[in-house]
Symmetry: C2
Subunit: 210 residues, 2 copies
Amino acid sequence: MINQVTSPDNTRDRIILAGIRLFAAKGYQSTSIVDLLQEANAHSGSFYHFFPTKQDLLLAVLKAYRDGIEPMLLAPAWDGIDDPIAKVFALLAAYRRALDSSSCTYGCPIGSLALELHEPDPPVRELLSVNFFGWVHHIRRCLDAAQNGNRLPRAVDTEQLAVFVLTTMEGGVMQARTHRSLAAFDASVASLRDYFSRLESAAREESQSC
Amino acid sequence: MINQVTSPDNTRDRIILAGIRLFAAKGYQSTSIVDLLQEANAHSGSFYHFFPTKQDLLLAVLKAYRDGIEPMLLAPAWDGIDDPIAKVFALLAAYRRALDSSSCTYGCPIGSLALELHEPDPPVRELLSVNFFGWVHHIRRCLDAAQNGNRLPRAVDTEQLAVFVLTTMEGGVMQARTHRSLAAFDASVASLRDYFSRLESAAREESQSC
């Protein structure tokens, strides 16, 4: 992700990567400049040259997530999958793997920052918002493809449903992480899967009645 | 809430109320002891007498939420509502009002703490977990009543669906707060409402075929 979204300057890249890792692992406010320097193996002079404040690093981290959604998140999750509805659930399965491999300590980094920062400065909040919109946009493209293929009823608002898929992921990850158990994530995805099955069934009836 | 869940000692109550207010408004880590003393109009000697550490106050706050769910959250949201499915959506409507009246800066205090605290000490994590379980328990009771009245299909796992309702609230609040707009919350609840409508319709068909 870093190679693709930042300048080729190595120190700057290492600091952004340190921000990605530490903000996700410890939270933004719990991560000190000293933590970041150690993780990036960088000196404070370099840090402040690239990032006058910790918030400047946060903005760079959020831009890296924004620009990395396709290469880092979607491409691996959707490798070999063409069916648009299967893609929706393959993305949710990628989050399940992240929970499973971290003993359910994983949190969506955007969702965690969105709730950790109670009064984010406008540029931070806007980049959090842009990250959510990006995620929803890609899911909506899947849902539009499914609807165009008569797999979803014509009356379904695909933007609304795409938001609901993100809601399912975020709410499921939040509970799984809190309970240190996959059960609530699995329950949420199973409910969404049942909802999709009912929508697909309604679309089939719609097609047959034409 | 406080009168019902804490000792009658006024200073202790005031400190817990200050914790409820400030942890919700600023976050746990951003709230200092000085902030709490000012908000509670208390001296540090009283504070440390009741709460040797800030985490001890956090535990008391989480117990207040746990014990306050019926009198403080459910009773006002469900006042005058008997229909078990209407209760589910009336509770979601209460969260919408909290978002609306705060210009979408409201966050579920439990959800926010669950994501802010990346490595909570076990007693904190357990009380966050207990709060989620309590919320789900009350929704499940509504769903069981609906199922017993043939309003939901017999095959519906009411525990799973209750978790999904919490997922909808938490994911919707997170996005609304991030976008500073009710749209994502409304989209999430509208999707859940459509899912319930399809479940209710399936239950009617089930009843008619008996």
